[in-house]
Structures are given as structure tokens and as C-alpha cells.
Symmetry: C2
Subunit: 312 residues, 2 copies
């Protein structure tokens, strides 16, 4: 089966109208009137971003979800995606079918469709790249650079899902499920669009990501971890060893959203979050100057490394 047959069999059924049945040179997207386009792109390499040989639906779901998290952090509405796949030459077609099943499941859940891309062979690890396309009402845009001294800092949900997705912890925090199916915070886009002055998704590690945001906005930040919300099982796990907090603050892959907002909007933000039945927690404050201070019981925490880095 050559790449045209593969595309026709596994991927064309997932195409939206923008994808022209995956039979064209390019996708054609007419954004709704009054909307801008938001684009993000992420790559996953076998044995770096997912275990060797695990080419199936889980990887497909994770690939889309981590990209959707970037759109969620910007308050954008996802529309569709282009996909580039480099398959190892001897890959079994059962993996391709399973991979396509993972895409299908995410398409349905997040109301997106496949618009294009390409499939090539590689003599090496599999490489999956997705470009997600979303829309945002014209004139609205939430970047990492809009935080100002005095703005509040919020975290959606809680940290640790990335870490426990690898290690497991309890019935609530299940290994693999959490890792392969992070939940992009798309339901919070109205809050982010309306009140966020700056935002970032928590992917590299909370400590690294708040540093990225503060640096890009040219503000300092103080975070108070004593007030951080944790589910019971994580709270217990943390209580056993004071060093464990550092792990959850630096591990990454949480796919929550960190955002800042003017303090005037505190009540509106909490009310909107309650309406959505979703936890959006005030965890700190931006200040003049630069640098991020993360405190526990009144003392600043020290970090050897704030998040995962390639090429270190």
C-alpha cells in the first residue's frame, strides 16, 4: 500500500470540508466573518515524547490534545488541523488504523477535523507533527506579554496530572490515562478572552512557565504555594515528603492554564468559573522588576531546574 492508499483508507474519512477529501495540494479555510486565525504546531518524537513502539490511538490523542491546550491558553476555538507523519518503514498497518481511531475520537470530542498534511517513511523513530488551527474574535488576542505589575495570577485546575500520568497514584490519577489524554481547558475560553491580560499553558513545568510569562511581560511574580488547591490523594502524597512539592511544580505536562488579570475582575472571574463548575484559583501577583519567587510557608523555594529542556 503506497502513501496515497494509506491516506485514502485511514485518513480521508477524518477530513473536514476544508481538507478537500485530502486529495488536494492545500486546505481551504474560510474563517467566519469577524474572526482571526490562531495557529500552533507541536512535534512528538518516538522514544522522546512517547515510549518506543507506541504508535496507536493514545499518541494520536495526546498529539492533538497538547496542541489544543495551546489554543485553549489563548482563548481560541479549535477548528481543524494538518498532520505530518513520518512512519518507520516496517510499521504494521494495525498501528495506523489505531492512530486514525485516536484522531477520530478527538475529532468528535473537540469538534475538529483533519484538513491535510502528509505521510512519509523514515528509517528511524516515528515523528508526528500537528498544526492546529483555531479562531478568535477579531481584535481579541491573549499573548504572554500583557501582564502588568499589580495583576493577579490565576491557575486553572491543579498541577500533578503530568507527573501522575507517568507514575500513577490512585483511581483518580491513573498512569497513562492522564499522560495520553490531557484535558485542554477549552471550556474556559470565555474567561480567558474576556479577562486575561496574559496567559500560557502549563506544559514545560509550572515554575518554568510562570517564568516565561513574567519574562515576556517584563514583570516579576510572587506565587504562594500554601494556597494551591490539591485533590485529596495528591494532598496526602505531598504531605509525606516536603521535597515532593518541587516535583509537581517543575514536572510539566499539566496542560492547565496560567493567566493574569486586573484585580478589578476578581469577582467576575470567580463567578464565571463557578458557572462553569470549574476551579480557577488566584495564586499570586505580578510586580515591578523581574524574577519569579515561589514561596512555601513564607520561604522562597529553590529549583535546580524549572522544566524539561531539549539540547541541554
Amino acid at each position: 500500500m503506497n502513501e496515497f492508499d494509506l491516506i485514502a483508507k485511514y485518513f480521508a474519512p477524518l477530513a473536514g470540508p476544508e481538507g478537500l477529501k485530502l486529495k488536494d495540494d492545500a486546505a481551504h479555510f474560510s474563517p467566519p466573518a469577524g474572526f482571526d486565525v490562531v495557529l500552533t504546531k507541536d512535534t512528538m518524537v518516538e522514544a522522546v515524547h512517547f515510549p518506543a513502539g507506541r504508535y496507536g490511538s493514545e499518541v494520536a490523542e495526546r498529539l492533538l490534545r497538547v496542541n489544543l491546550s495551546d489554543l485553549a491558553a489563548k482563548g481560541a476555538t479549535p477548528r481543524g488541523y494538518l498532520l505530518s507523519i513520518a512512519w518507520p518503514k516496517n510499521v504494521d498497518h494495525v498501528h495506523m488504523q489505531d492512530f486514525a481511531n485516536g484522531l477520530k475520537s478527538s475529532n468528535e470530542k473537540f469538534k475538529i477535523s483533519l484538513w491535510g498534511g502528509d505521510t512519509v517513511a523514515i528509517d528511524g523513530p516515528a515523528v508526528f507533527t500537528a498544526t492546529l488551527v483555531g479562531t478568535m474574535p477579531e481584535g481579541l488576542s491573549v499573548t504572554r506579554s500583557g501582564a502588568r505589575p499589580g495583576h493577579d495570577i490565576y491557575l486553572t485546575g491543579y498541577l500533578g496530572k503530568g507527573y501522575f500520568g507517568l507514575k500513577g497514584l490512585s483511581k483518580q490519577h491513573v498512569k497513562n490515562d492522564l499522560f495520553y489524554k490531557p484535558a485542554p481547558r477549552l471550556e474556559l475560553r470565555t474567561i480567558i478572552r474576556t479577562w486575561a491580560s496574559a496567559s500560557i499553558d502549563v506544559s514545560d513545568g509550572f515554575a518554568a512557565d510562570i517564568s516565561h510569562l513574567a519574562e515576556t511581560s517584563s514583570v516579576s511574580a510572587v506565587i504562594e504555594t500554601d494556597e494551591l488547591y490539591w485533590p485529596d490523594d495528591i494532598q496526602k502524597w505531598l504531605a509525606n515528603d516536603s521535597g515532593r512539592l518541587n516535583i509537581l511544580l517543575t514536572h510539566g505536562d499539566d496542560y492547565e492554564v496560567l493567566f493574569t488579570a486586573h484585580p478589578d475582575h476578581r469577582d467576575e472571574i470567580q463567578k464565571a468559573a463557578q458557572t462553569l463548575d470549574f476551579k480557577v484559583q488566584l495564586i499570586g501577583r505580578c510586580g515591578l522588576g523581574q524574577g519569579v519567587t515561589i514561596t512555601s510557608e513564607g520561604h522562597p523555594l529553590a529549583f535546580e531546574q524549572t522544566g524539561y529542556k531539549h539540547f541541554q
Copy 2:
């Protein structure tokens, strides 16, 4: 140097305003009023699509140009791109600088800019993926499926540049130059937008690509090769061996545009091409039914394989 430093040093200087200095989760693009968005994505794998170890400006230029060719075939105006790079772990930074130089050169030539993407490490061959974003006046769209029986078939320029880019031939057709710097036919977009009923870029191989177009449009096609234009050096090379025509009809990587148009527009198309001082040649006709016949001196040519295929 970690990936954040790499991006800041080599890639951030290439970013357009849509790329937010490559410091954000996503790019933000406001298409001009009255324009749709056209997207295409292509991957190049080391030792498959370019020689092993050749990571520099040439690969960067080729990556952008082959994607730009897809936009050109659709009549779109290129705007910017997202880039995913999987570098082998031990890659020398001199290659990254050189790669960035190649992007810069294409940015200037084609009036595009870098909007985002990511950089990861791979224990294997380098993998480069670009997503090109272009625009098209709202309501206009040239797909592969619009050809109808009776429509003319046109080819821009001539075939053989892909083949002689690998083999070399003469001062005009220089090895490597032609391979790494194919010329996307963006200058013809007005012709394509205005008169093309269907179009495709010649990348897989002329015989394969006319077959894709005919199949997607549900028409048959007859091509008469005796009338094909060739520059003198290629004409001489062809005259030496009657089997050589088949090579140029199937090799691919020509990055010309094959398009169809209603015969009423013959004069307008030729006049527009002359104004642009560009060769746009009438080479065949669509008919009822299906199948592609490529003839030479009145006889149909036979092809063992019509173009390059992965996973064969």
C-alpha cells in the same frame, strides 16, 4: 544551549508580527478583509528527501519552496509559516545558523515570515516540517476537482528541473541549484485564480500528477508530448534516446503547475502569460470517462511507474 536559547538566537530574528517573537503558545493571524486562508504542510526527512548530513540553507530553502509551490498551484498569496524541526542530538550549531540563513533568504524573496513551530531533539535522521499559510480572495478556490470534459490542459514552464537538479546537464540546468531552489510559480497566481478550473503542482511526477487531477475531477485526459516545450539543452538530451522522455514525465520535483481551463479562455490566458513573460503551454484536453493517455508521435506511452511513492 537549550531549545529556548536556540529559538531566540537563530529563529526569533525571522519572525513576523504574527509570530509574537516566537515567545508565545500560538501565532495570531488576521487575514485581510475579504480573504480566505489556504494551508499546506510538507515534511522532509534526512536521507529520504535530502542527502544525509546536509542540514543547511539549501534544505531550508527547498522546504519552503516546495510548500510555496502548493500555494502557487492554488493561486494563493503566501503569508507565513510554522516550522517543526527535529535535529539530531549532536548537530553542530553552524548547521542551525546556516539553516536559518536559508529561511531568511526565502523570507525576503517570497515576502513571508516565520510565525511559530517547535524544535526538538531526535535520535535519528533530521525531520523538517513546514506549514505554509496563504490567502485567497474570498469565494475563489482552485481545487483538483473542477476540471470538466472539454477543458484544456496547461503546463507552466517545462519539465526536467527536478531530474537535472539531481543529475546536472548544462550551465542552465545545474545540479543541486535546481534541486534545492525550485521556483514556486507564484507569479502566475492571477492566471490561476482567474481562469483555472482545476490545478495541481507537478511534484510527484507529471504522469502521476495529471492522473491525480483527472481522477479527482472525474474526467479523462489526453496529453500530446510532441508539442511540449523544452529548452535547447534538454531537447538535445531527449533526442539522444527515445526512452528519456519517460524519465522526465515521471521523475517529479518539477514544481510547475498543471491546470485546466475552459477553452473560451485560451486567448486571455496566453495574453496574460505574455504580459508576465512566462511560458504557459496548452498541452492537452480533458474528456468524458476516465484514464490518462500520454502520447508521443501518435502512440500512447506506457509507464512502469508514474511517480515516486513511499511505502511501496
